[in-house]
Every structure is written in C-alpha cells, then in structure tokens.
Amino acid sequence: TVGLITKTESNPFFVKMKEGASQEAKRQGAKLLTGAGAKDGDNEGQVTALENMINAGAKGILITPSDTKAIVPALQRARQQGALVIALDTATEPQSAVDALFATDNFKAGVLIGQWAKAAMAGKKPVIATLDLQPGITVGAQRHNGFLQGMGLAKADPNSSNLVTAPQVVCSQDTHGDQAEGQAAMENCLSKNPDINLVYTINEPAAFGAYTAIRAAGKEKDILIVSVDGGCRGVQGVVDGKIAATSQQYPLKMATMGVQAVVDYAKSGKKVSGYTDTGVTLITDKAQPGVPSKDSKFGMANCWGTK
C-alpha cells in the first residue's frame, strides 16, 4: 500500500500528481491511499492523514509538505514505524527528515524566470509587482526570492522562507495561489501604481487572475507576466501570449518515481535516498540569448509530464 499526501486536493498540479500515482500504482498492482490538507499550509490535516495511512498499513508515504518544518516530527514517527517516506516537489527542513526527495528546485525555477525577465526587459527600468503565495510557506519564498535573484535585484538564501524585496518591487500581495485573489490583488496594484510593467506570479492561476485584471485595464501590451508551474493550462497561456514565460515542473514524473520506489521497498526492503531533481524547464516563445529555454510546443508536449 502506498500513501500519497498532497497540499490540497484541487490544485491542478497535485491533481496531476495524483493521476500519475494512481496510474503507476495500477501498473504495479499496489493500493493507493490519498489524502490532503484542507488548504495550503494545513499541517494538521496532513499529519492526520499520515497517521491514518500508516495505521491503514501503508508501506510508504509520498508527501508534498504544506509546512516544510512542522511536518518533520510526524514524518520521523512514521519512519520509526518502518515506513519509507519520500517528499515530492517540496523539500522538508531538514531535508534529512525524509528518506528521499523527488523535486523541482523551486529556487532555480524562480531564478530562470528572473533571468529571462531581466533579458526580456532589455534595459527598460523594471517596475515590478509580485503576487505571492502566503507568509511562511517555503515554496512561495523560494520562487519569489529566486526570481528577484535572477533579476539581479537581490541576493537570497535558497532555503529561506522569508521574502526578500527590492526597490523595484512596488506592490506585493498574497494570493494563496488563487485566481480570484490574484485578480483582486493585481487590480489594486494597478490602481496603486499604473506604471507596473513586470508581474511575478506564484503560480499560473494567479497569473491568469493578474492577466484578467491587466486586460481590463487595457495594459496587456505593456506588462510582462512570468510564472511557475508549466501546467497544460499555463503553457496554453504562453501560447495565447497571456503569460510571457513560465518555469515548467514535472509532478507526474515525481509521483511515478515515488510509487515505483515504495513498491521496490515493499518488495526488496531497500530504500531510495537523497535528492533527485525532476527537472525544471523555462517555457517561453520569446527565447532570450543566454537564458536556456524551450518553446511552448515542447511545453505542451510535456506539460506536467504527460506521456
């Protein structure tokens, strides 16, 4: 039996992950239990699910920790009870709290869009709005900080969960990665400072929210939106020219590898360990010199690692 615990049930990213896991589980003839927190940052929900899965006899747990530190003690308990614990997409702090980590480097994802944006702005003075996740969530900080570092506007510790900032950032809002909130936040940012010409978004729903607001303001020509995830809908956004560039991740791959690893452990008792980067690719149709990227055709073909 394999247990998969995601941050939420409804974020397409995790839906994809679940999809991959259940396919793989079927192939391997393993039983998959799934659980999730009520919302991003709901640690207790994840702990409860974890405990119940161990009780239900799960050999291994695949988890995307909502709170990279808070989950640790529970994970250690699970490991003491002999379960293999693998973190997907997001590292725990310390990373050693889990047997293995299959993840994207979120900081690098941020850096990539940062570098691209820097190049794409071509000397134009950036006036930046950042639509963030919510305080205290590492992934949010890593992407945000990575972005600013890529822009060359700030230096940041890749593992910090605190947002850095820079004078060029004129408006920062939490969106909880939610499209409606992203839209409201962008609307207010624009009425605060109409000169914004570059928008960083924590994920693609937020990006689309921002785009709706920007189009309503008739500024879609003058503002670049960069984002992270590379989901099929996100890449479609790149194709449509709504999102200028996005860093693509591969949840399906993470899940598949995860289930594989647990099944092996159940069979042979040998544990995987260490960090496996499942890779991140910058997707844009306006490739910039010196910034490695692939176009949206590639993005579509691989969005979140379908096939």
Partner: protein
C-alpha cells in the same frame, strides 16, 4: 445585539423626518463614510471614479452572496453553504458548455436548477426535520464542496461569450462600470422592495421575530422558510454567474470563504443574527465597508499581515460606530 434595536423595518414615506431620525442603517453608512475619508487622506489615488468602480467590482460577488445570506439571517437562520453553492453553479454553467458542449443558456439554467435543489434541501432539512441551519448548511457546504471537485478540478477556461457579459463594461464619463455591478445593485433594489413592501417580505420578518406567533397568525412558516432558503440559493447562483463574468473562467477553488465574508457584510450592515431585525441595504453597505478597507489598505502599500490586523480592528470599530449610533434608542 442592540445594534439594531430600532423601529420599523419600513419607515413610512409619510413621516420622512422621524424615519430619518431613526434612520436604521445610519451606523453602517457613517462607518463607511469615515473609512472613505480616512483612506482619501492616506492615498491620493483612492478618491477616483475608476477606483470606486474597482471597489464595486471587487464587492459584486460577496455582495450578491450576502443578499441571500441576509434573507436567511432575517429568519433567524444562517447559511454556511452559500459560497460552495456558488462555486458549484459556476463550474456547471461553464463546464457543461466547455466540456459537454451544452447550449450556454441551457447550461446556466441547469446551474440555477442545482442551486434551487440545494436551497430546497437546506430549507427542508431545517423546517421538517428541525435541524439547526448551522448544521444543515455545514453539511451541504461539504457536499457542494466535494461535488465541485468530483465534477472538475481543472479550471474551466473555455467560457462562452454570453457568460462574459457581466464582466463587460460601459462608461459613465471617464469611468468604466461593469454590468455585473449594475446587476448586483438591481438585485439589492428588488430585495429591498420585496422585504419592505410585499406580504412575502413581511412574512420573512414575522417568522424571524416569532415563528409560533407567525404560525398562529396564519403564516405557513414552513413554506416561508423553504422559500427563503431557495431564493437565497438562487442569489448564490446569480453570484456564480457574476463571478464567471468577472473572472472569465469557471474556478473550482472559489467560494470557500463566501460564508464568513457574506455574514460579515450582513452583520456589519446592522442585521441581528437573532432574526427579525435587519435591513438589506445595510448589507450592501457592510460589503462596501470590507471592500473599501481591502482596497484602501493595499493602496497605502501596507504589508498583508498588517492589512489583516487593521481590518480586524476596523471591523470592530465599524460595528461599534453602528452600535453607538443607536445607543439612544
């Protein structure tokens, strides 16, 4: 709940002056104006037609949810399910077209029908089984929540043009106003009229004030309650429509805070959670108060943590203003 311990739900046109003296939603209005003055002094961008139009747009969805919530609360109930009913209807209205190729208008009808179904269930469980509305709607919240996700976890982007209508704008002078804003205001006017000047409206207040007396006065309290929960649910469906118009997508993640946010608007508007006393227009003002806070604080560039802090304080202040403005009576 002395906040609303004042005179008739319907001050007669005849003695206009007295009705002003006991102008029921004086408190909320005062609070709103104070808030506006404050922000006007803090940010030069606040006082602009464009910005107000923006605030209205941001209030449309919660404001519309709060119409139904007001009806329910006037009967002494509470509806926790409203946000999720809205979410369900909005994904259905968009999804049935996008995924099942259904005619958009038909899709809207189906979405509305589902709302009606939920409303009837809420009302029926409350009236005929006698369960507390809090529990009933908590249950239907969960049910709608999961139905949404069982139907789709992917945001529905392929929205028929027809459904974008409420997001479109027309201009008054230089400021663009969305049809959604207009729709919400029209709904408020209708609700205001019905509550104030129709037998049905009277029945709502009567049932909320004293159900047994209402029954013995010849009112079918059961029917009134079911009607209220159903009409409320329809307003949630309309909110869903406006949401789609505003965002241009059908978003399965929406609506989770709709209940608390709408209740806040209702209570800030001076309606008693005990039922029987309240004013629909107060709810609109209550919704605006929240919208103004959020917008104003962001214009001031205050960090999100402090925004929440200040909002908390202001909510209490606003309510106090309302209360104190009625203290005399």
């Amino acid at each position: 709940m002395s906040t609303v311990a004042t005179t008739s739900p319907a001050p007669p046109r005849t003695d206009f002056l007295r009705s002003l003296g006991s102008f029921p939603i004086l408190g909320p209005v005062a609070a709103l104006i104070l808030a506006c003055i404050f922000f006007a002094t803090q940010s030069d961008r606040f006082l602009s037609g464009a910005n107000f139009s923006l605030i209205l747009q941001q209030v449309v969805v919660v404001g519309t949810l709060a119409i139904g919530q007001t009806l329910v609360i006037l009967t002494g109930g509470i509806d926790l399910s409203n946000g999720m009913i809205m979410a369900l209807s909005s994904v259905l209205m968009t999804g049935l077209y996008a995924n099942s190729g259904m005619d958009p208008y038909l899709a809207v009808l189906v979405g509305m029908a589902v709302c009606v179904a939920f409303g009837v269930v809420n009302g029926w469980l409350h009236t005929f089984i006698g369960l507390p509305p809090f529990i009933v709607t908590l249950g239907t919240y969960s049910i709608a929540y999961s139905l949404v996700r069982i139907y789709t976890t992917a945001t529905i982007t392929d929205v028929p043009p027809a459904l974008n209508f409420f997001g479109d704008t027309f201009r008054i002078g230089s400021t663009a106003i969305t049809y959604g804003t207009v729709a919400m205001i029209v709904l408020y006017v209708i609700a205001w009229f019905v509550l104030r000047s129709t037998p049905a409206g009277r029945a709502v207040y009567a049932v909320g004030d004293n159900p047994e007396a209402a029954r013995l006065a010849g009112i079918h309290t059961g029917r009134v309650l079911i009607a209220v929960y159903t009409i409320a649910a329809i307003s949630y469906g309309i909110a869903g429509l406006l949401l789609v118009g505003r965002m241009g997508v059908g978003d399965p993640n929406t609506g989770q805070n709709g209940n608390l946010e709408s209740i806040t608007a209702v209570v800030l508007g001076g309606t008693s959670l005990l039922g029987g006393r309240g004013y629909i227009m107060g709810t609109l003002v209550g919704a605006l108060i929240v919208g103004v806070f959020r917008n104003g604080l962001q214009l001031m560039g205050i960090g999100s943590n402090y925004q929440v802090l200040i909002t908390g304080v202001l909510v209490i202040l606003a309510a106090s203003v309302d209360y104190l403005s009625h203290r005399g009576k």
